[in-house]
Each structure stands twice: as structure tokens, then as C-alpha cells.
Amino acid sequence: MIESFWSKFFRFYVPLIIFVIFLLFPFYWMFNTSLKPMKELYNLKLNPFYVHQPTLENMKTLLFDTIFLRWMYNTFFVAILSTAISLGASLLAAYAIQRLKFKTSGPTGLAIFFGYLIPPTILFIPLATIIFDLRLWDSLWSLVLTYPTFLIPFCTWLLMGYFKSIPKEMEECAMIDGASRLRVFWRIVIPLCLPGIFSAGIFAFTLSWNEFLYALAFISTTESKTVPIGLVTELVRGDVYHWGPLMTGALLASVPVALVYSFFVEHYVAGLTGALKE
């Protein structure tokens, strides 16, 4: 079907551009505000869409007057550890459910899947009492231990889909040659599944980087906060909003996620759509 230029223009380009502007505008705004000096932020005569005198003053305030870098470190620490724990546990579970097909593998898989549907909003209060009893209150370990509750269901689900997509023949051949199941798992399944493990890993990393509710509920000391919590609770003091440093912080804290994302965007899309189709 050949469509005229104008028809394509109005039915495709115009709506597409409107959507892209709508979806990207907040990021532009983050960037724009982070470069503005204080007096420009609060000058209503100037056009706010344009930075008249770009400055790094906000960056300086953020890095030297707050413990932003400490928050970044905390977030990394929690994201990496919880991702590692979840990946390990999910890999074993997904292999067992999808490949070994043991007696209760069906119900087990389903139970893990339902785990993903329980929102943190229901869990954070009982979890808070458990964390309190475990004496992990205000410790980053409370997050390392609770993040796997949403990471494991997600990773297991994603990896089960991946296991389904790779052929069984190689594993069967190795087993005929006398390799044990564990050896097959270690030497054949894991290397074959690296791309799948990888997408599960980057997903898990972003999910824990983004987590908000548990970190807000379980952590109260300034030094132990993660980036999103630190920014929202420490840079707003009473009625004083430090918009410049806030936006700079939002921008910098988005960078690790955006970088991971931009390098592995195909893994993301494949992971998301794969997980949905399963």
C-alpha cells in the first residue's frame, strides 16, 4: 500500500513526535534545571526552557555539601549483592523447574511467578517487623535480603523462558557420554545460557537500583540511605527545596541505569517481551 506523504506525515510522524516529546520532556527538564544557577531558577522573566548562564554550581553543592557519593556507593552495594544472590538462586530454580521437570515443578514455578505479583506495598509492614527482629533495622543488609523477594520471581521467570528456547540435545548427548547432571549444568547449561543470565542480571540490577519503598521504610540514618531516598529526604529541608542540586542528583543517579540500558537495550526489549509472552 502506498500512502501519500501528507497522509504519512499526519498519521505517523506528527503523533510519533508528540509521543517522543512527551516521554522525553522530563529528562530534558532534569538536565536543563541541573545547569541553571540559583538566581536564574527563580527569575520568572527569563524563558525557563533555555539555560542563559550554565553553571556547575549545583554539581559542586551536591558532591561537596551532601554525601551523594556515599548514597551512590550504598545503592551500588545493595544492587550488586542482591542481584548476585537472586541470579544464583534463580538460575538453579529455573533449571530445576524447566529442565528437570521434577514432581512438583509445575506448582513450584507457578508459586514463584505469583510471588512477582505481590506488591511491596502489602509486604513492607510485616517485613519491617521481621527486619526489626533480625536486628537489621537501619542496615543495608536489610535491603540486600529483601530485594531478592521481587528479583528472584522475575529472574526465575525470565530464565525459565530462556531455558525453554535453547535445545535440549547437547545436554542429552553429554549425559549419554556419562557426564553427571550437575556437570552438565555447570559445563553446558550455564555457558549456553550466558545471554539469558546476562539479561536477567541487568534487569535485576535496574530493579534494585530503582527500589524505593523498602529503602524508605527500613533505613533512617543519612549515611545508610540509597540515592533515591537520600535525594528526596535530605535535599528537601522543611520548605526549602534545593531544586538545582536535586535535579543534578536525579540526573547523576539515572546515569548508571541509563548506561546499562543503552548498552544492552536489545536484551531489555527481548527480556521484557520474552517475559510477557511466557
Binding site: T121, I122, T129, I130, F132, F212, K277
Partner: protein
Amino acid sequence: MQIQAEERGWLRLRNAFSTLMENRNFLGFLLVIPAEAILFIFLAYPFILGLWLGFTDTVIGRKGDFIGVGNYVSLLKDSTFWLVTYNTFLYTIVAVLFKAILGFVLAIILNRDFKAKGLVRAIILLPWIIPTALSAIVFWWLYDSTFSAISWSLIKMGLINHKIDFLGDPTNARISLIVANVWRGIPFFTIGLLAGLQTIDPTLYEAAAIDGAGSWKRFRRITLPLILPLLAVITTFSTIWTFGDFQLVWVITKGGPANATHLFGTLSFQRAIPGGHFGEGAAISNFILPILVLCVLISFKYLKRED
């Protein structure tokens, strides 16, 4: 002699162990233990504990006593709670509806070949990838009552003559939050539905076009029925997340003005963490459960059908 016997015994044990490791049921059971242990301690147990806490008067730092349906009775008498119930339903229904419609429209727009397809698809997922708390800060700043860029632009265009009080007025605050939620949720719908649209055989459309079906009819009779199961699953997920939403509201309005934007999630947080009333907070968040169960049943039905 004894040493030999010992060695033989050990060997037998090792053989028995490796035979056991070849047993699918045993090995399968063994391999799921780490995942199940974590999920049991930090997911299943708190889930049950949450149901129990709702029937107690637990406050922070002290074990509470069983008080039956006391929390629920006092909540049902609390006008704030009814307002919050209304808010949560309004927020969920309107936001999910807009996310589904706009996400679907964008998926249809993108479901064709054009030059920068990969790039556009990558850009579109950004609102979903970037930490919500951080993008919520941007919305918060955009909704500032004095320095909002939105007000500034509308005034310059001559559409309004005084600044909009985005977060100070109940209706405005609700709309503002829904817009932020829709912004964040569109990508999930679009990318998910796009994957579904790409699996539809294009010859179906060609055949329909030859038979004289217009584009609306093709959408109604081909696209919609084929995409419906996937749309149902995505909508279910989105409904659960939106119904249990917390961070957008907490960052942008903290439930204000006058509780007009409090959801179950934010109200239970407020009563439980700063307020210290764990029992009451748990009771509030337990109101999310019926919707959750309903959604799980729906998604389960559609997932089954696809198998």
C-alpha cells in the same frame, strides 16, 4: 581390615550420593531450595504475618495483642479511609485506562518499518527504566506553584492568565499525579503490545484489505481479537502496580492536599512507619488484597489459555 571396611563404606555413601544426584526429583528439589528459602522467609511468611498483624494492635517495637476486627471496624468508620479508597480506585481506573489507550496507540504507530525504529524504541522505554523516584522529583518541580514551566508556557501562549496551582487543589493534584503515572506506564504497554503486534501475520491484513475492509474494521476484526489475551495480561500487571502504587504519590504530594491524593499504599506507610501503628497500617494495605486476587485470577485464566 577395618580401614578397608571404612573406605568401602565411604565409597558406598559416595555412590549413593551420586545416584541421588542423578534422580530428577531429588536434584530438582535440592536446586529450588535456595530460591524457595528466601521467598519463604521474606515473601510468604511476611505475607501471612501481614494478615495476622491486621488483627492486632502492634505498634513499633512492641508485640501487639489480638484485637479481632478492631482495626477494620475503626477504619470503616474513618472518613479518611473512605476518601483514600475512592482515591485509589479513581487513580487506578483512570491511569490504567489512559496507559492502555495511549500505549496501544503508540505501539500501533511504531508497528511499521521506519529508519530510526531501534532508536525510537530504545528512547521510549526510558521513563520505565529510570528510577521512578527520580523522575517523580522532576514532575514535582514541573508542578511547582510559582516556577512551573507548564504555567509559564500556558501564560505566554495566552491560554491562561494566572498560574495553575497544580498540587494545592485536590482535583489538580489528582490529575497531576495521574499524568505522571501515565507517563511512566506508557512504555510498558507499548513495548509489550508491540511484541504482540509483530507476531500478527501481515497477510491477514492484506486479505482483509482485498475484501474491502477499512482500517478501522481491520483493527476491530483482526488486531484487537488477536492482541486481546496479551493486552489482558499487561493490563492486569499494570493494574496491580498502579493499585499498590507508592513512590510517585509519596514524592510529589505526600498524600496532600487534605488527603486528596493518599492511596492505600501511602496511607498505610504514613500510619505504620512515621506513625508507628503497624497493626492499623497492615490492615490498610490488606485492602489491596481483594484486587490482587482478582487480578491474579484473571491473568491466570489468560496465561492458561495461551499454553
